[in-house]
Symmetry: C2
Subunit: 207 residues, 2 copies
Protein backbone atom coordinates (compact mmCIF):
# COMPACT_ATOMS: atom_id res chain seq x y z
CA UNK A 1 0.00 0.00 0.00
CA UNK A 2 2.48 2.62 -1.11
CA UNK A 3 0.83 5.97 -0.50
CA UNK A 4 0.05 8.65 -3.03
CA UNK A 5 3.29 10.59 -2.68
CA UNK A 6 4.96 11.76 -5.86
CA UNK A 7 8.29 10.07 -5.14
CA UNK A 8 9.00 6.99 -7.25
CA UNK A 9 9.25 4.72 -4.23
CA UNK A 10 9.37 5.61 -0.57
CA UNK A 11 12.86 5.50 0.78
CA UNK A 12 13.39 2.11 2.36
CA UNK A 13 16.25 3.44 4.36
CA UNK A 14 16.18 6.12 7.04
CA UNK A 15 18.81 7.27 9.44
CA UNK A 16 16.49 6.27 12.23
CA UNK A 17 15.79 2.82 10.81
CA UNK A 18 19.53 2.28 10.45
CA UNK A 19 20.32 3.36 14.01
CA UNK A 20 17.59 1.22 15.51
CA UNK A 21 18.70 -1.80 13.51
CA UNK A 22 22.24 -1.06 14.63
CA UNK A 23 21.21 -0.98 18.27
CA UNK A 24 19.37 -4.28 17.85
CA UNK A 25 22.45 -5.79 16.23
CA UNK A 26 24.64 -4.67 19.13
CA UNK A 27 22.10 -6.00 21.63
CA UNK A 28 22.10 -9.39 19.97
CA UNK A 29 25.66 -9.95 18.84
CA UNK A 30 27.76 -7.49 20.82
CA UNK A 31 29.80 -4.50 19.82
CA UNK A 32 32.68 -6.43 18.30
CA UNK A 33 30.35 -8.12 15.83
CA UNK A 34 29.03 -4.91 14.31
CA UNK A 35 30.00 -4.28 10.72
CA UNK A 36 28.55 -2.13 7.99
CA UNK A 37 28.12 -5.21 5.83
CA UNK A 38 26.31 -7.21 8.47
CA UNK A 39 24.02 -4.31 9.29
CA UNK A 40 23.23 -3.88 5.61
CA UNK A 41 22.44 -7.58 5.32
CA UNK A 42 20.05 -7.28 8.25
CA UNK A 43 18.30 -4.40 6.48
CA UNK A 44 18.23 -6.22 3.14
CA UNK A 45 20.25 -3.55 1.45
CA UNK A 46 23.60 -2.98 -0.23
CA UNK A 47 26.32 -2.04 2.29
CA UNK A 48 27.05 1.16 0.43
CA UNK A 49 23.47 2.36 0.79
CA UNK A 50 24.06 2.99 4.47
CA UNK A 51 26.52 5.73 3.56
CA UNK A 52 23.66 7.84 2.22
CA UNK A 53 22.32 8.26 5.74
CA UNK A 54 25.29 7.76 8.00
CA UNK A 55 28.80 9.10 7.69
CA UNK A 56 30.68 5.85 8.18
CA UNK A 57 31.07 3.23 10.86
CA UNK A 58 32.22 5.61 13.55
CA UNK A 59 29.32 7.97 12.96
CA UNK A 60 27.00 4.96 13.05
CA UNK A 61 28.27 4.07 16.52
CA UNK A 62 27.91 7.68 17.65
CA UNK A 63 24.36 7.62 16.36
CA UNK A 64 23.53 4.47 18.29
CA UNK A 65 24.97 6.08 21.41
CA UNK A 66 22.74 9.09 20.87
CA UNK A 67 19.69 6.89 20.61
CA UNK A 68 20.60 5.46 23.98
CA UNK A 69 21.22 8.85 25.59
CA UNK A 70 17.91 10.08 24.26
CA UNK A 71 16.20 7.25 26.11
CA UNK A 72 17.32 8.50 29.52
CA UNK A 73 14.17 9.60 31.36
CA UNK A 74 14.27 13.18 32.59
CA UNK A 75 12.26 13.68 35.79
CA UNK A 76 9.87 16.64 36.17
CA UNK A 77 11.74 19.81 37.00
CA UNK A 78 9.98 20.39 40.33
CA UNK A 79 10.97 17.92 43.05
CA UNK A 80 13.70 18.54 45.63
CA UNK A 81 17.39 18.56 44.88
CA UNK A 82 18.46 15.21 46.22
CA UNK A 83 15.43 13.46 44.83
CA UNK A 84 16.04 14.88 41.37
CA UNK A 85 19.72 13.93 41.33
CA UNK A 86 18.92 10.45 42.54
CA UNK A 87 16.13 9.99 40.00
CA UNK A 88 18.42 11.06 37.16
CA UNK A 89 21.21 8.76 38.27
CA UNK A 90 18.82 5.84 38.54
CA UNK A 91 17.29 6.67 35.16
CA UNK A 92 20.71 6.83 33.54
CA UNK A 93 21.64 3.51 35.08
CA UNK A 94 18.39 1.86 34.03
CA UNK A 95 18.78 3.08 30.45
CA UNK A 96 22.30 1.64 30.24
CA UNK A 97 21.39 -1.65 31.88
CA UNK A 98 18.57 -1.99 29.37
CA UNK A 99 21.24 -2.27 26.66
CA UNK A 100 24.32 -3.57 28.44
CA UNK A 101 26.25 -4.42 25.31
CA UNK A 102 25.64 -1.02 23.74
CA UNK A 103 26.21 0.97 26.92
CA UNK A 104 29.99 1.27 26.37
CA UNK A 105 29.18 3.38 23.32
CA UNK A 106 27.73 6.00 25.64
CA UNK A 107 30.28 5.50 28.40
CA UNK A 108 33.37 5.67 26.22
CA UNK A 109 32.69 8.21 23.49
CA UNK A 110 32.65 11.94 23.54
CA UNK A 111 29.20 12.71 22.21
CA UNK A 112 28.09 15.95 20.65
CA UNK A 113 27.16 17.88 23.75
CA UNK A 114 23.67 18.68 22.50
CA UNK A 115 22.69 15.07 22.86
CA UNK A 116 22.90 15.21 26.63
CA UNK A 117 21.45 18.67 26.97
CA UNK A 118 18.17 17.69 28.57
CA UNK A 119 19.64 15.52 31.34
CA UNK A 120 22.38 18.08 32.04
CA UNK A 121 19.79 20.82 32.35
CA UNK A 122 17.78 18.61 34.66
CA UNK A 123 20.78 18.22 36.96
CA UNK A 124 22.01 21.80 36.90
CA UNK A 125 18.64 23.49 37.31
CA UNK A 126 17.89 22.24 40.85
CA UNK A 127 21.51 22.75 41.90
CA UNK A 128 21.44 26.39 40.83
CA UNK A 129 17.97 26.83 42.30
CA UNK A 130 19.32 25.54 45.61
CA UNK A 131 21.86 28.35 45.57
CA UNK A 132 24.94 26.49 44.41
CA UNK A 133 27.45 28.71 42.65
CA UNK A 134 27.57 27.51 39.03
CA UNK A 135 31.19 26.40 39.27
CA UNK A 136 30.44 24.14 42.18
CA UNK A 137 27.33 22.82 40.47
CA UNK A 138 29.41 21.80 37.47
CA UNK A 139 31.99 20.13 39.71
CA UNK A 140 29.25 18.19 41.43
CA UNK A 141 27.73 17.14 38.15
CA UNK A 142 31.06 15.93 36.84
CA UNK A 143 31.96 14.04 40.00
CA UNK A 144 28.66 12.20 39.99
CA UNK A 145 28.93 11.52 36.26
CA UNK A 146 32.44 10.10 36.65
CA UNK A 147 31.18 7.77 39.35
CA UNK A 148 28.21 6.71 37.22
CA UNK A 149 30.42 6.00 34.24
CA UNK A 150 32.89 3.98 36.29
CA UNK A 151 30.22 2.00 38.06
CA UNK A 152 28.30 1.25 34.90
CA UNK A 153 31.42 0.16 33.06
CA UNK A 154 31.87 -2.37 35.82
CA UNK A 155 28.25 -3.51 35.72
CA UNK A 156 28.09 -3.79 32.03
CA UNK A 157 31.09 -5.86 31.16
CA UNK A 158 34.26 -3.90 31.36
CA UNK A 159 36.19 -2.59 34.33
CA UNK A 160 37.32 -4.97 37.04
CA UNK A 161 35.01 -6.32 39.72
CA UNK A 162 38.20 -7.36 41.46
CA UNK A 163 36.26 -10.56 41.93
CA UNK A 164 37.65 -13.09 39.51
CA UNK A 165 39.91 -15.66 41.03
CA UNK A 166 41.25 -13.88 44.09
CA UNK A 167 40.17 -16.93 46.09
CA UNK A 168 43.07 -17.97 48.27
CA UNK A 169 45.79 -17.18 45.81
CA UNK A 170 46.73 -14.43 48.20
CA UNK A 171 47.97 -15.32 51.63
CA UNK A 172 51.23 -14.22 53.10
CA UNK A 173 51.93 -12.14 50.04
CA UNK A 174 48.64 -10.24 50.31
CA UNK A 175 47.04 -10.75 53.72
CA UNK A 176 44.52 -7.91 53.42
CA UNK A 177 43.25 -9.28 50.12
CA UNK A 178 43.01 -12.71 51.72
CA UNK A 179 41.04 -11.30 54.64
CA UNK A 180 38.61 -9.48 52.37
CA UNK A 181 38.41 -12.31 49.82
CA UNK A 182 34.79 -13.27 50.54
CA UNK A 183 33.69 -9.73 49.77
CA UNK A 184 35.94 -9.33 46.78
CA UNK A 185 34.62 -12.56 45.32
CA UNK A 186 31.11 -11.20 44.88
CA UNK A 187 29.84 -7.84 43.68
CA UNK A 188 26.33 -6.65 44.41
CA UNK A 189 26.13 -3.97 41.77
CA UNK A 190 22.94 -2.50 43.14
CA UNK A 191 24.48 -2.05 46.59
CA UNK A 192 27.75 -0.64 45.23
CA UNK A 193 25.77 1.85 43.21
CA UNK A 194 23.69 3.05 46.15
CA UNK A 195 26.71 3.17 48.44
CA UNK A 196 28.77 5.42 46.19
CA UNK A 197 25.85 7.54 45.08
CA UNK A 198 24.86 8.27 48.67
CA UNK A 199 28.37 9.43 49.53
CA UNK A 200 28.40 11.84 46.62
CA UNK A 201 24.90 13.18 47.18
CA UNK A 202 25.58 13.61 50.89
CA UNK A 203 28.64 15.65 50.03
CA UNK A 204 26.61 17.84 47.69
CA UNK A 205 23.85 18.31 50.23
CA UNK A 206 26.22 19.36 52.96
CA UNK A 207 27.49 22.90 52.38
Amino acid sequence: MTSRRGRPSQAVLTRERILLAGLALVDEDGLAAVSMRKLARRLGVDPMSLYNHVDGKDALLDGIAEVLVASIPVPPAKADLRETMSALAHGFRAAMLGHPRAAPLVLTRRLASLTALAPVEAVLAPLLAAGFPPERAVHGLRAVLAFLIGTLMREVEAAPTLGGSVQRVADLSAPAVAAAAPYLAVCDHEAEFEFGLRILLDALDAP
Copy 2:
Protein backbone atom coordinates in the same frame (compact mmCIF):
# COMPACT_ATOMS: atom_id res chain seq x y z
CA MET B 1 77.98 -10.63 20.48
CA THR B 2 75.65 -13.60 20.70
CA SER B 3 76.50 -15.35 23.96
CA ARG B 4 77.70 -18.90 24.45
CA ARG B 5 74.29 -20.50 24.96
CA GLY B 6 73.60 -23.82 23.28
CA ARG B 7 70.49 -22.66 21.41
CA PRO B 8 70.94 -22.26 17.67
CA SER B 9 70.01 -18.58 17.76
CA GLN B 10 68.55 -16.59 20.61
CA ALA B 11 64.85 -16.11 20.22
CA VAL B 12 64.27 -12.75 18.58
CA LEU B 13 60.78 -12.67 19.88
CA THR B 14 59.66 -12.59 23.48
CA ARG B 15 56.26 -12.05 25.01
CA GLU B 16 57.72 -9.04 26.77
CA ARG B 17 59.30 -7.60 23.64
CA ILE B 18 55.96 -7.98 21.86
CA LEU B 19 53.96 -6.30 24.62
CA LEU B 20 56.36 -3.37 24.87
CA ALA B 21 56.34 -2.89 21.12
CA GLY B 22 52.57 -3.08 21.25
CA LEU B 23 52.40 -0.40 23.91
CA ALA B 24 54.71 1.81 21.86
CA LEU B 25 52.52 1.27 18.81
CA VAL B 26 49.41 2.29 20.75
CA ASP B 27 51.20 5.33 22.16
CA GLU B 28 52.18 6.47 18.68
CA ASP B 29 49.25 5.56 16.48
CA GLY B 30 46.33 5.00 18.83
CA LEU B 31 44.30 1.97 19.71
CA ALA B 32 42.32 1.82 16.51
CA ALA B 33 45.50 1.53 14.47
CA VAL B 34 46.79 -1.59 16.21
CA SER B 35 46.89 -4.70 14.08
CA MET B 36 48.83 -7.92 14.38
CA ARG B 37 50.31 -7.30 10.96
CA LYS B 38 51.47 -3.79 11.74
CA LEU B 39 52.98 -4.89 15.04
CA ALA B 40 54.80 -7.72 13.28
CA ARG B 41 56.14 -5.27 10.70
CA ARG B 42 57.45 -3.06 13.49
CA LEU B 43 59.23 -6.06 14.97
CA GLY B 44 60.59 -7.19 11.61
CA VAL B 45 58.85 -10.51 11.81
CA ASP B 46 56.13 -12.52 10.13
CA PRO B 47 52.68 -11.75 11.54
CA MET B 48 52.14 -15.38 12.44
CA SER B 49 55.22 -15.46 14.63
CA LEU B 50 53.44 -13.36 17.22
CA TYR B 51 51.05 -16.23 17.84
CA ASN B 52 53.87 -18.24 19.37
CA HIS B 53 53.98 -15.83 22.30
CA VAL B 54 50.56 -14.29 22.46
CA ASP B 55 47.17 -15.91 22.12
CA GLY B 56 45.69 -13.56 19.54
CA LYS B 57 44.84 -9.93 19.24
CA ASP B 58 42.60 -9.77 22.27
CA ALA B 59 45.20 -11.42 24.47
CA LEU B 60 47.76 -8.98 23.11
CA LEU B 61 45.62 -6.07 24.25
CA ASP B 62 45.12 -7.69 27.65
CA GLY B 63 48.87 -8.08 27.89
CA ILE B 64 49.48 -4.43 27.11
CA ALA B 65 46.94 -3.50 29.77
CA GLU B 66 48.81 -5.65 32.28
CA VAL B 67 52.07 -3.91 31.47
CA LEU B 68 50.36 -0.65 32.29
CA VAL B 69 48.82 -1.89 35.52
CA ALA B 70 52.18 -3.24 36.60
CA SER B 71 53.61 0.25 36.25
CA ILE B 72 51.33 1.69 38.93
CA PRO B 73 53.59 2.68 41.83
CA VAL B 74 52.64 1.10 45.14
CA PRO B 75 53.47 3.32 48.11
CA PRO B 76 55.23 1.90 51.20
CA ALA B 77 52.80 0.07 53.45
CA LYS B 78 53.35 2.30 56.46
CA ALA B 79 51.92 5.81 56.11
CA ASP B 80 48.48 6.84 57.35
CA LEU B 81 45.21 5.80 55.74
CA ARG B 82 44.24 8.90 53.87
CA GLU B 83 47.76 9.52 52.67
CA THR B 84 48.06 5.99 51.33
CA MET B 85 44.73 6.10 49.49
CA SER B 86 45.58 9.46 48.01
CA ALA B 87 49.04 8.33 46.93
CA LEU B 88 47.61 5.26 45.21
CA ALA B 89 44.95 7.25 43.43
CA HIS B 90 47.51 9.75 42.22
CA GLY B 91 49.88 6.98 41.17
CA PHE B 92 47.15 5.25 39.22
CA ARG B 93 46.23 8.49 37.52
CA ALA B 94 49.84 9.31 36.67
CA ALA B 95 50.41 5.86 35.20
CA MET B 96 47.36 6.22 32.95
CA LEU B 97 48.15 9.78 31.90
CA GLY B 98 51.62 8.59 30.95
CA HIS B 99 49.97 6.49 28.23
CA PRO B 100 46.70 8.24 27.48
CA ARG B 101 45.96 6.33 24.31
CA ALA B 102 46.56 2.95 25.94
CA ALA B 103 44.77 3.78 29.19
CA PRO B 104 41.34 2.68 27.91
CA LEU B 105 42.76 -0.85 27.75
CA VAL B 106 43.07 -0.79 31.53
CA LEU B 107 39.88 1.17 32.12
CA THR B 108 37.62 -0.92 29.92
CA ARG B 109 38.77 -4.53 30.23
CA ARG B 110 38.26 -7.04 32.96
CA LEU B 111 41.82 -8.05 33.72
CA ALA B 112 42.90 -11.23 35.40
CA SER B 113 42.57 -10.19 39.02
CA LEU B 114 46.12 -11.16 39.88
CA THR B 115 47.43 -8.29 37.82
CA ALA B 116 46.05 -5.73 40.22
CA LEU B 117 46.85 -7.66 43.37
CA ALA B 118 49.58 -5.40 44.66
CA PRO B 119 47.64 -2.13 44.39
CA VAL B 120 44.51 -3.73 45.82
CA GLU B 121 46.49 -5.05 48.77
CA ALA B 122 47.98 -1.60 49.25
CA VAL B 123 44.48 -0.10 49.49
CA LEU B 124 42.87 -2.75 51.66
CA ALA B 125 45.69 -3.16 54.17
CA PRO B 126 45.48 0.32 55.70
CA LEU B 127 41.68 0.24 55.60
CA LEU B 128 41.58 -3.00 57.57
CA ALA B 129 44.34 -1.77 59.88
CA ALA B 130 42.22 1.30 60.61
CA GLY B 131 39.47 -0.98 61.82
CA PHE B 132 37.16 -0.98 58.81
CA PRO B 133 35.05 -4.10 58.54
CA PRO B 134 36.21 -5.88 55.38
CA GLU B 135 32.88 -5.46 53.62
CA ARG B 136 32.98 -1.71 54.06
CA ALA B 137 36.62 -1.62 52.99
CA VAL B 138 35.72 -3.36 49.73
CA HIS B 139 32.82 -0.96 49.15
CA GLY B 140 35.14 1.97 49.69
CA LEU B 141 37.72 0.55 47.34
CA ARG B 142 35.14 -0.02 44.64
CA ALA B 143 33.57 3.42 44.98
CA VAL B 144 36.95 5.12 44.66
CA LEU B 145 37.91 2.87 41.77
CA ALA B 146 34.68 3.65 39.92
CA PHE B 147 35.35 7.35 40.33
CA LEU B 148 38.95 6.94 39.14
CA ILE B 149 37.88 5.00 36.08
CA GLY B 150 35.19 7.50 35.16
CA THR B 151 37.44 10.50 35.69
CA LEU B 152 40.32 9.01 33.75
CA MET B 153 38.10 8.02 30.86
CA ARG B 154 37.17 11.65 30.63
CA GLU B 155 40.75 12.86 30.88
CA VAL B 156 42.07 10.43 28.39
CA GLU B 157 39.79 10.82 25.45
CA ALA B 158 36.47 9.19 26.01
CA ALA B 159 33.58 10.15 28.24
CA PRO B 160 32.01 13.57 27.89
CA THR B 161 33.55 16.73 29.28
CA LEU B 162 30.15 18.26 28.66
CA GLY B 163 32.24 21.04 27.25
CA GLY B 164 32.03 20.86 23.49
CA SER B 165 29.77 23.41 21.92
CA VAL B 166 27.36 24.23 24.72
CA GLN B 167 28.21 27.86 24.09
CA ARG B 168 24.95 29.77 23.83
CA VAL B 169 23.01 27.10 22.01
CA ALA B 170 21.02 26.82 25.17
CA ASP B 171 18.90 29.71 26.31
CA LEU B 172 15.25 29.57 27.03
CA SER B 173 15.23 25.84 26.39
CA ALA B 174 17.99 25.19 28.93
CA PRO B 175 18.52 28.17 31.19
CA ALA B 176 20.62 26.35 33.78
CA VAL B 177 23.02 25.11 31.12
CA ALA B 178 23.21 28.63 29.76
CA ALA B 179 23.98 30.03 33.21
CA ALA B 180 26.72 27.48 33.83
CA ALA B 181 28.06 27.62 30.28
CA PRO B 182 31.38 29.28 31.13
CA TYR B 183 32.18 26.46 33.54
CA LEU B 184 30.91 23.73 31.25
CA ALA B 185 33.05 25.07 28.44
CA VAL B 186 36.30 24.29 30.21
CA CYS B 187 37.42 21.31 32.25
CA ASP B 188 40.33 21.52 34.65
CA HIS B 189 40.97 17.79 34.98
CA GLU B 190 43.36 18.22 37.88
CA ALA B 191 40.78 20.17 39.87
CA GLU B 192 37.93 17.79 39.04
CA PHE B 193 40.08 14.91 40.16
CA GLU B 194 40.96 16.46 43.50
CA PHE B 195 37.40 17.62 44.08
CA GLY B 196 35.86 14.19 43.67
CA LEU B 197 38.66 12.33 45.40
CA ARG B 198 38.39 14.54 48.46
CA ILE B 199 34.67 13.89 48.75
CA LEU B 200 35.21 10.14 48.64
CA LEU B 201 38.16 10.11 51.03
CA ASP B 202 36.32 12.38 53.46
CA ALA B 203 33.42 9.95 53.45
CA LEU B 204 35.76 7.05 54.17
CA ASP B 205 37.52 8.93 56.95
CA ALA B 206 34.31 9.86 58.68
CA PRO B 207 32.89 6.87 60.56
